[in-house]
């Protein structure tokens, strides 16, 4: 069954049934404007309408602290490689975050592959959830074209009033549907409801900045010396909030830490950020991106230009988290608009 429908009344028992596949994680309201992916045991705790969570789901694919290897000096100096895994089901992932997970998948499965990521990845089941409405003024999914599903899920849910329209993306998704009796076959009226919603969405989700998305890499290349980077650099506090909350920022550090017993220890991977000045500084003291403007420009290029050349996809998902959390109020859309004005790419 490629398409199915699930009555909304069955959501509670569906979430219960999902537990056989692993810990169920879903967006939960922390305040009116703040949401977080957390373990849920009761479907009523799930925020079906939510704006992007504080941290993206990347925390389940690439934890902030992750053990890569362990050692015990009583057994010598050998590091034993380990991977920390747990079966989880991510429920309610918006399309922007699905795109983010796809970016991480591309990076870590690019050769040489990152086994720690890929092994853990196999333990995660993903159930997407469509945004019927536009979330807030920070998002740019209209510009990035990420407001519609583009794969990257096992199942994808669209809320169509008293039922969910469900697209089956993978064999694992197919198994879930087959094993839960309350799914029904999708009929033409359901497809019609979906089309109506998508037509309505096409009206609401418009490019937030009047530029041609496909010209963005060229615009960033030509605007490398643009004044906007100095302006943004002058405001940036180098706090790295933007990289922490970004669904596609995956830069990391590898550290060896000994436990307090001074006998055992581990090699860990921790999140790091190109916004921190020591990030690319070499031992002799040379710093190749010494200024905040250099680092801000680097981050933007790593969303809109460099990965397009390397992986053939944008690494901005339009989720708006970086603008939402910026203490200096550096706004992604404004930055792009200013760059577009300077380089002549702004459509009039």
């Amino acid at each position: 069954m490629e398409y199915a429908v699930l009555p909304k009344s069955a959501l509670g028992s569906f979430v219960d049934a999902l537990r056989q596949y692993g810990k169920v994680i879903a967006p939960v309201a922390k305040s009116e404007r703040h949401f977080a992916f957390e373990e849920v045991t009761d479907a009523r705790d799930i925020a079906l309408k939510y704006i992007p969570t504080i941290l993206p789901p990347k925390k389940y694919f690439m934890p902030q602290y992750e053990t890569l290897a362990e050692y015990d000096i009583r057994e010598g100096q050998k590091l034993y490689p380990v991977v920390e895994v747990e079966h989880i089901v991510l429920f309610g992932v918006h399309t922007c975050d699905l795109a983010g997970i796809q970016c991480l998948d591309v990076v870590f499965s690019d050769r040489p592959k990152d086994l720690n990521y890929l092994v853990r990845r196999g333990y995660v089941t993903i159930i997407g959830l469509e945004c019927n409405e536009y979330c807030d003024q920070y998002a740019s999914c209209g510009l990035m074209g990420t407001f519609l599903p583009q794969g990257g899920y096992d199942l994808f849910f669209t809320d169509l009033g008293d039922y969910f329209f469900v697209h089956v993306g993978t064999q694992r998704g197919e198994d879930i549907v087959a094993n839960f009796s309350l799914f029904q076959r999708a009929e033409s009226r359901h497809f019609w409801d979906l089309q109506l919603l998508r037509a309505k969405k096409a009206e609401i989700f418009r490019p937030e900045v009047p530029v041609d998305r496909f010209l963005l890499p060229r615009m960033f290349q030509e605007g490398f010396e643009a004044k906007v980077w100095e302006d943004v650099g002058n405001r940036c506090l180098s706090c790295a909030n933007c990289t922490n909350v970004c669904p596609t920022c995956y830069c990391f550090d590898v550290k060896d830490v000994m436990n307090l017993d001074l006998r055992t220890g581990k090699r860990i991977r921790v999140w790091d950020s190109c916004q921190n000045e020591p990030f690319a500084k070499i031992a002799s003291g040379e710093s190749f991106r010494a200024e905040r403007s250099d680092r801000k420009r680097h981050r933007f290029n790593r969303k809109f230009s460099y990965p397009v050349k390397r992986y053939n996809r944008f690494f901005c998902t339009g989720c708006g988290r970086c603008s939402r959390v910026c203490m200096a109020k550096i706004d992604l859309k404004e930055t792009i608009a200013q760059l577009a004005r300077e380089t002549g790419y702004l459509k009039v």
Partner: protein
């Protein structure tokens, strides 16, 4: 749970340590049979309890029995390395990166320009070219090497074996001489224009040294008529994972640890100037 390790080194004892200068030592370890590499590639060296850092391999792959890393004492890992003795264990992860473009160098005359510890990756290629099995594939070899003071010159123990060869010209210079020094005094880029007076046709310039020296040497080579694609350099960067992922060594769409560290100048000019 236990798994295959992408980030775990193999452990090897240090076989020999050569004191090069007051702050540079060459560490010799046995070459594992599966460690297949080309000149210009690098590896991550691990000091148990301290951490890892990237180093270019200074020995030639034509040597089947051992690997050498020439390491300057400058950061936390290198300070720990310098405290080790023969017999102590270090970890090795690699090789990583792309080496020198050997195919493009075939039949060419090679001008090596090294500064300070920058001679280490060049030495791997020089000894590769000088090895009996490869010598005929390349033309003349000219090596210009400079350091701050005579005491900062590395591989001095090896120079006599280079100097006695007829197919290699070795020219040394120091920024600042002392009473023991009767050789040339002057900065590498300036000396280069004095000593290399041949026509640059069929020559390839291969440069490594501190970033500032690389920049001025490339400028000198360009003035001497070297085409951009005939200038090759190898960049120093803070490589951590070696897999093109952690992001530290990223310049433009490239990761120095995977796409470099060897780049032609033709390629460098297409990249943001963040090196």
């Amino acid at each position: 749970m236990r798994c295959e390790g992408t980030y775990t080194p193999c452990l090897l004892p240090i076989e020999e340590i050569i004191e090069e200068t007051r702050d540079i030592k060459t560490f010799r370890i046995r070459r594992p049979e599966d460690f297949v590499y080309l000149p210009g590639q690098f590896a991550e060296i691990f000091v148990p309890g301290v951490g890892e850092a990237p180093f270019s391999i200074s020995s030639s792959p034509t040597n089947p029995t051992f690997l050498e890393f020439s390491i300057k004492r400058i950061g936390s890992v290198t300070q720990a390395l310098h405290r080790l003795n023969p017999g102590d264990t270090i970890g090795l992860r690699g090789p990583y990166g792309k080496g020198f473009p050997l195919e493009e160098l075939l039949g060419k005359n090679l001008l090596f320009v090294g500064g300070g510890i920058g001679l280490a990756p060049l030495r791997s290629l020089i000894n590769y070219v000088l090895s009996p099995e490869h010598r005929e594939s390349f033309g003349e070899v000219f090596v210009l090497y400079g350091a701050r003071t005579p005491g900062d010159l590395v591989f001095r123990w090896e120079f006599p074996s280079w100097e006695k060869r007829k197919d290699l010209t070795l020219c040394l210079t120091v920024d600042e001489g002392d009473t023991s020094w009767s050789g040339r005094v002057g900065l590498v880029p300036n000396v280069l224009q004095e000593v290399f007076t041949r026509s640059c046709a069929n020559w390839v310039g291969i440069v490594c040294g501190p970033p500032i020296m690389i920049k001025f040497t490339i400028k000198a080579l360009r003035e001497m008529g070297f085409e951009a694609r005939r200038i090759i350099t190898t960049l120093e960067m803070k490589m951590k994972c070696g897999l093109g992922k952690c992001g530290r060594c990223n310049i433009g769409p490239y990761y120095v640890c995977q796409d470099g560290p060897v780049f032609s100048y033709e390629m460098l000019v297409t990249m943001p100037e963040e090196y």
